[in-house]
């Protein structure tokens, strides 16, 4: 089904398909042997491998710089909730909890909205409206993280503290997740800020995915007498796996996000079920404590936190790209 969409081949000569399948292959076929060309080709290769190799270099250097904490704490580093620099007891569990919960909250808010926008852009908006709308949504991605943090502390947090959290707490306060302090800095505020930050990427990838669904699907649904919304449901169904890819890509972004979260999450390393209360994330812990790490073990523990963060986002990104690729067949893979 999806294989029926092939990207437009812009380098096809007018006389029909050429004998070679790709630009790369043709260039190689046309390659006149010469020392300068040899040097050129392999120096571009060197740079390409250099960038790709950075991924490996990051893993290796972080592993080397976390040997002390790995040796001392082993696997218990992952499950231990204590983070006590004074007594040199370090565990990542409280930070992992904060990272996961704030990111999942962000997804809960961001995914429905992003899908709504993507459906609006692809299925409903006329072209002259679709362009400026997607342009404005993408501008949200251009705003720096630290600026979202500023806005979070000085605008959003006071608003939530005054007008949103107290009513929710008085209405639903019997639920443990809505109990606890409501000073505005905490998991929920971080989740909301993260949601605004990841909407552009989830929207962009979902838009690509929805565009890749063949029009025959829509025509078939309309021909069966489906309404506009029912047709959209058919399209969403066909794009299912690609949309999950978009969602997971958004999750990866939320998990790795640093500055805005550091500024609004309240920075308290404990596992608590109160969503309005303060928490801490892996990225925030590194951002706040790295320059203050006085002992080697302390620093190695922080680097190990970074390594955990890297591995989580790596796995998530690989998964997301595979899912998006099953729908778009590489068309939208340049998004990142």
């Amino acid at each position: 089904m999806a294989s029926s969409i092939t990207p437009p081949n812009t380098y096809e000569p007018a006389g029909g398909p050429g004998p070679f399948p790709s630009v790369g292959a043709r260039t190689r076929a046309l390659f006149p042997s010469g020392f300068g060309d040899w040097v050129f080709k392999y120096s571009t290769l060197l740079f390409a491998i250099g960038i790709a190799g950075l991924v490996v270099a990051i893993i290796v250097s972080m592993a080397q710089n976390s040997t002390l904490s790995v040796a001392k704490f082993g696997w218990s580093f992952l499950t231990n909730t204590t983070w006590d620099p004074v007594h040199e007891q370090f565990g990542a569990a409280a930070f992992t909890y904060g990272t996961v919960v704030s990111s999942v909250l962000a997804l809960l808010f961001a995914v429905p909205v992003s899908l709504g926008i993507a459906v609006f852009l692809v299925e409903q908006a006329p072209r002259r409206l679709s362009y400026p709308v997607s342009f404005l949504i993408q501008l949200l991605a251009a705003i720096p993280s630290v600026v979202y943090g500023m806005w979070g502390i000085f605008v959003l947090a006071p608003l939530l503290r005054t007008y949103v959290y107290p009513p929710i707490q008085s209405a639903l306060g019997f639920l443990p997740i809505f109990q606890g302090p409501t000073n505005g800095l905490g998991l929920m505020t971080a989740g909301l800020i993260l949601a605004v930050m990841i909407v552009p990427i989830v929207t962009a990838v979902s838009t690509d995915v929805l565009r890749a669904v063949p029009d025959t699907q829509r025509e078939a649904a309309f021909a069966m007498g489906a309404t506009k919304w029912e047709t959209t449901q058919v399209v969403l169904g066909a794009a299912r796996s690609g949309i999950s890819g978009a969602v997971i890509l958004g999750l990866g972004r939320a998990i790795g996000e640093t500055m805005a979260v550091t500024m609004v999450i309240g920075n308290r390393p404990e596992i608590s079920e109160h969503l309005f209360g303060p928490s801490y994330t892996i990225s925030a812990a590194i951002a706040n404590e790295f320059t203050e790490a006085t002992s080697e073990l302390y620093r190695h523990s922080l680097v190990e936190l970074g390594l955990i963060l890297f591995i989580i986002t790596f796995v998530i990104n690989v998964l997301a790209r595979l899912l998006v690729w099953t729908v778009t067949r590489g068309q939208g893979s340049a998004r990142a």
Partner: protein
């Protein structure tokens, strides 16, 4: 003509009340538009708040003076502006050539299998959290050298820039018609001249666009600078020393207890966001005109 619902066609379950279905359709499509309106509203709210709050503190003196202690008037962010430009310059000098060469490799030479692996790793690098890049830059530069430096910050930013430039360069170069390559080879040009003098030159506008977007992106990064470039309270252009940056300054002022520093943070935010948005809007409107 039984269009009754079945397991295979869950969407078309038999609801023959056309009016109800049409109403539902209208409500749902309306909701999708509401989502777009909501997010655009948030964007405008943020931008308007930044402008309204930042403009109060903004003055010529703010742009040309260095920071002063709390309570003293005439404090400014000149060193942070200069620092941000120096950091961007270091990152660009390293990141741009590397990214462009890698992009040329991906589109011109990469065999499909090996190319896919390289492309995949480069895409992965784009998804690496910027704080992790900061830790990496610390371990490879700050730690061995023994002190914080603008160079380390610039390298961190370059790492974020390279994959973006590589991928946009690849996409742009792929758009160059093959007839141009053939023509230059037919004139006897070696491949390296064809790639740099004809293909890259034809795609130059597109590559520049990608580079500008990458610069706009790194201009707003804070996390990779926290323990590399750090900050510095005076004007400095020494890349071997810590250096101030707009983003770090905003973070620092926002976290302080002083009302006065908060308003300076807003003004610095206005400068930073203005810079980044001007680049984005300019680049994207150029792209659109060509599309």
């Amino acid at each position: 003509m039984a269009v009754s619902g079945s397991a295979e066609f869950p969407v078309l379950t038999a609801d023959f009340n056309l009016r109800r279905r049409k109403l539902k359709s209208r409500v749902m499509t309306g909701l999708t538009m509401a989502c777009a309106v909501l997010l655009i509203g948030i964007l405008l709210a943020i931008l308007l708040y930044i402008s309204a709050t930042g403009i109060r503190q903004l003055s010529l003196g703010f742009l040309v003076n260095n920071p002063k202690p709390v309570g003293e008037s005439g404090s400014g962010i000149a060193n942070a502006i200069v620092g941000t430009f120096i950091l961007i310059a270091i990152a660009t000098v390293i990141g741009l050539p590397v990214g462009i060469m890698a992009g040329i490799y991906l589109s011109e030479f990469a065999s499909s299998k090996f190319g896919r692996v390289v492309r995949f790793l480069i895409d992965t690098l784009t998804g690496v959290p910027s704080i992790v890049v900061g830790v990496f830059a610390w371990t490879v530069i700050v730690h061995p050298m023994g002190h914080f430096s603008a160079l380390a910050g610039g390298v961190g930013l370059a790492i974020i820039m390279m994959p973006i430039v590589a991928r946009t360069t690849e996409e742009m170069i792929k758009l160059v018609p093959h007839s141009l390559r053939e023509a230059s080879l037919a004139l006897g040009a070696p491949v390296w001249r064809m790639s740099l003098g004809v293909v890259l030159r034809t795609a130059a506008a597109g590559v520049a666009t990608g580079a500008m977007l990458a610069i706009a992106r790194i201009a707003g990064e804070t996390a990779p600078l926290l323990f590399t470039a750090l900050s510095y309270n005076y004007m400095s252009t020494d890349i071997n020393q810590p250096i101030a940056s707009l983003t770090y300054q905003i973070y620092y002022y926002a976290g302080s207890p002083y009302e006065e520093w908060h308003s300076m943070a807003w003004a610095a935010t206005l400068v930073l966001v203005g810079m980044i948005l001007v680049i984005n809007v300019a680049v994207l409107s150029v792209v659109r005109r060509r599309a």
